[in-house]
């Protein structure tokens, strides 16, 4: 059991970027972000036995993380006003003044303006997941995932211009 826990925690530690990104995209406060991270880890742990290398790690993690964030998670804090949202993002990157971090900060800000399902498509796309994987994770067709992403590119561009 202890060995299993160690292997699991190592797996999560090495791949925590994916969980942190999902947690940030689907919450509006640091408290909720931490709670969501923990809930995703718990759900991954519960399904760890059935996973055990049956599929790609990223496939398994995306499914569990997105299902938890979009459907299971009970937020503690209410949806904040725009000013509070701005504060939350600013705090995250308080020390990051370089251009790349500003780009990421802006990306998070605009992606979070999209509905839940569209956020998932954009995130997986940015992570270079193939359309087949995006479609299978969400339960839509590959063609529609591609079409939706092309439309989302235009929407994101408009949002970036508006919020830059």
């Amino acid at each position: 059991m202890e060995n299993k826990q160690k292997t699991f925690s190592k797996l999560i530690k090495d791949n925590q970027g994916l969980i942190i990104k999902v947690s940030r995209l689907y919450t509006h406060s640091l408290e909720d972000q931490e709670d969501l991270f923990q809930e995703i880890v718990l759900q991954l742990w519960k399904s760890y036995d059935s996973f055990q290398g049956n599929s790609k790690i990223s496939t398994w993690m995306y499914r569990v993380a997105l299902n938890t964030a979009i459907t299971l998670f009970r937020k503690k804090t209410r949806q904040p006003q725009t000013d509070e949202l701005q504060d939350f993002h600013s705090k995250d990157f308080l020390e990051d003044n370089d251009e790349k971090q500003q780009q990421i900060s802006l990306l998070y800000k605009v992606i979070k303006l999209l509905p839940d399902v569209e956020r998932a498509i954009v995130m997986m796309y940015l992570d270079d997941e193939p359309y087949k994987e995006i479609a299978e994770t969400l339960g839509i067709t590959e063609v529609n995932a591609r079409v939706k992403m092309n439309r989302l590119k235009k929407i994101l561009k408009e949002l970036m211009i508006k919020h830059a």
């Binding site: 970027g17 923990q38 996973f51 997105l66 459907t71 780009q103 569209e118």
Partner: protein, 227 residues
């Protein structure tokens, strides 16, 4: 900041993938999370649903072994001065007995369906399946509650109609307010009961079901969009 006019999301892929993860967790912190309690909606629905099954099952069980119905019914018949009480009571007792048996069988069937639908909820499913399975699971519980309410309405409705029919058949002249008090009481209690159940459902499941159906609609919309 890039020139937003020339913004292209593909050019930000690398930046996104290489983003620095602030405050990452170490292995010990991750292991300690495994001992914490999960706080999620399915667990919340499960506990509320089990409570609903227990409460309604308990009410059914009590009703099955209760003698109160018989006593209450005899007193109503007396108040309305209805003759041939034994014969009427016997018929209603039989109907009531079979309704209770049927209701218990229905509860048993629902418990099995409830368990089977709960087992289908798998966090590793795709998002659409996951949402559909949660909605199906919740619908089983709703159907169980509404079946019980339907039985309640059916029973009270047939009981009241039976009384009205007997009063007419026996040409009983109702010159006291007992009859109308009974009818008004029945209708009023039923209305209150239905309103309370509806309020309860809005409060207990409103937010979650709204969220689930919004996301399911989004997925269906994506799949139905013209290419």
């Amino acid at each position: 900041m890039p020139n937003s006019e020339n913004f292209d999301i593909d050019s930000l892929k690398k930046t996104w993938q290489d983003q620095m993860i602030p405050d990452d967790y170490n292995q010990n912190e991750i292991e300690s999370m495994l001992n914490k309690k999960s706080r999620n909606y399915v667990k919340y629905i499960l506990w509320i649903s089990i409570a609903e099954f227990v409460i309604f099952g308990f009410i059914n069980f009590l009703a099955l072994f209760s003698e109160d119905f018989h006593t209450d019914f005899t007193s109503i018949l007396n108040k309305l001065q209805i003759r041939n009480q034994n014969e009427i009571e016997f018929s209603l007792d039989r109907i009531y007995y079979w309704m209770k048996i049927f209701s218990l069988i229905i509860t048993g069937v629902f418990v099995v369906i409830f368990y089977m639908n709960y087992k289908k909820i798998n966090v590793e499913s795709n998002l659409k399946k996951f949402i559909i399975h949660i909605i199906h699971f919740k619908k089983t519980v709703n159907l169980f509650i509404f079946t019980n309410v339907f039985f309640l309405l059916l029973f009270i409705g047939s009981f009241t109609s039976f009384l009205v029919f007997t009063i007419k058949q026996q040409n009983i002249h109702v010159d006291n307010p007992t009859f109308w008090s009974l009818i008004t009481g029945v209708v009023f209690s039923l209305l209150i009961c239905i309103i309370l159940i509806l309020i309860y459902y809005k409060l207990a499941y409103g937010i979650l079901l709204k969220r689930l159906s919004v996301n399911l609609k989004q997925l269906e919309k994506i799949d139905s969009e013209k290419i």
